[in-house]
Amino acid sequence: MSVSDETLMAFADGELDDAARAAIESALKEDPELAKRVARHVALRQRVRVAYSSELREPVPQRLLDAARRSPAQAGPATNIVNLKDARDARQREAAASDVAAPRWRSLAAIAASVVIGFGLGYASRNQGASPLVRSADGALTAGGSLATALSTQLVAGQSPGSAVHIGVSFLAKDGEYCRTFALSGAVRPSGLACRHGEQWRIESLGQSNDAAGSGYRTAATNMSSQTLKAVEERIEGEALDAAGEAEALHKNWRK
């Protein structure tokens, strides 16, 4: 039976009527080659769908929620917005009015807040004698020892509360490098941002976690110093990586 590719595609998409579908189904049983072609369509459909599924879990910016909940009368002249410049201007006015509430910042914080990490006891006792965690070379700071190892190999999804280094968020920076925020356990809880530069993790920002006094579980966002958050916000391109994106980046050895 000769079947056009468009018919097979429609079959895979569930678009055929009963009679046509039954005809294909019986042909499939006798023709492995046909079955293979259908499987290709189904697999591609699934692959594309899966690849885009994580976008649905991203937090929606407040301004869009507000726009959807506002009645047209309340929106006033804004309902006549026909170009992006007006929308952008309006957004900037809103952002200026609420200061810290820039959309990108909000969504980053929301992502980070979803990554709950916990802190164990001091790393100092476990790291004595090991190679230094931060090295200075050519005027730049780079990660060494267990910090470098964690940055290269540790996935947020798999880290245990007791590990010495905790990774907060990973993202692709505007210059194409992968960057990750980290926090070390211990009394002073140093935290910072490192970006992959060649074979090294260059420390872009280093500070003390906000909540040095606290203990137990908290979110990745609250563990970052404001300095680190600012460094993240300056560099981030788009959104932070999700678990799959992080795993893929690790698989590629943090090279784009």
Binding site: E6, D13, R40, L44, Q46, V48, L64, A67, T79, L84
Partner: protein
């Protein structure tokens, strides 16, 4: 159901659609910030015209169409489409260097970004958003035969870009 209940519902139904509207807009517009701006414009337009929505029609299709029209208007009003696409396509080729070609796993997103816009929107509506052909054709304002041929060409191109891994899963 009285009018105020209906209008209350449409607000919350649009809220529920926002993640999908953003995702569709990103496939259309590609710059995520512009995409959100387009969604915002579309939501505001939809609410001013909510009386035009027939409740037996799918709200998602109706909204996708408004998103797409908002973007078309934007492109027309600025005449900047060529500039935007040239700039982005130049950047997209980074990382597909043939030397590391074999080792590089091209992501579905990267492959999608390489498709012509008409194929990308067809794939986006049918494969990602799950619209029936008829609804997708209506959103794009093309005959169903045009939609299916764009879809077929888009799939073929994706399969070629993504390689045999697309056959596993």
């Amino acid at each position: 159901m009285n009018t105020s209940e209906t209008s209350q519902n449409i607000h919350e139904e649009i809220v529920l659609l926002l993640p999908r509207l953003r995702r569709f807009a990103r496939n259309l517009v590609r710059n995520p910030h512009d995409a959100d701006d387009v969604v915002q414009v579309a939501v505001e337009r939809a609410l001013t015209r909510s009386d035009q929505w027939r409740s037996e029609a799918r709200l998602d299709s109706w909204m996708f169409k408004i998103v797409r029209n908002a973007w078309i208007d934007e492109v027309r009003s600025r005449g900047r489409r060529d500039k935007v696409f040239l700039g982005e396509e130049a950047g997209e080729n980074v990382g597909t260097d043939p030397i590391e070609g074999e080792m590089t796993i091209m992501s579905v997103q990267t492959a999608m970004a390489k498709l012509p816009e008409e194929q990308r929107t067809a794939i986006s509506l049918v494969l990602i958003e799950g619209l029936p052909y008829k609804e997708a054709a209506d959103v794009l304002e093309v005959p169903i035969g045009t939609l299916t041929s764009r879809l077929a060409r888009g799939r073929e191109a994706l399969q070629a870009l993504l390689g045999p891994e697309g056959e596993q899963v």
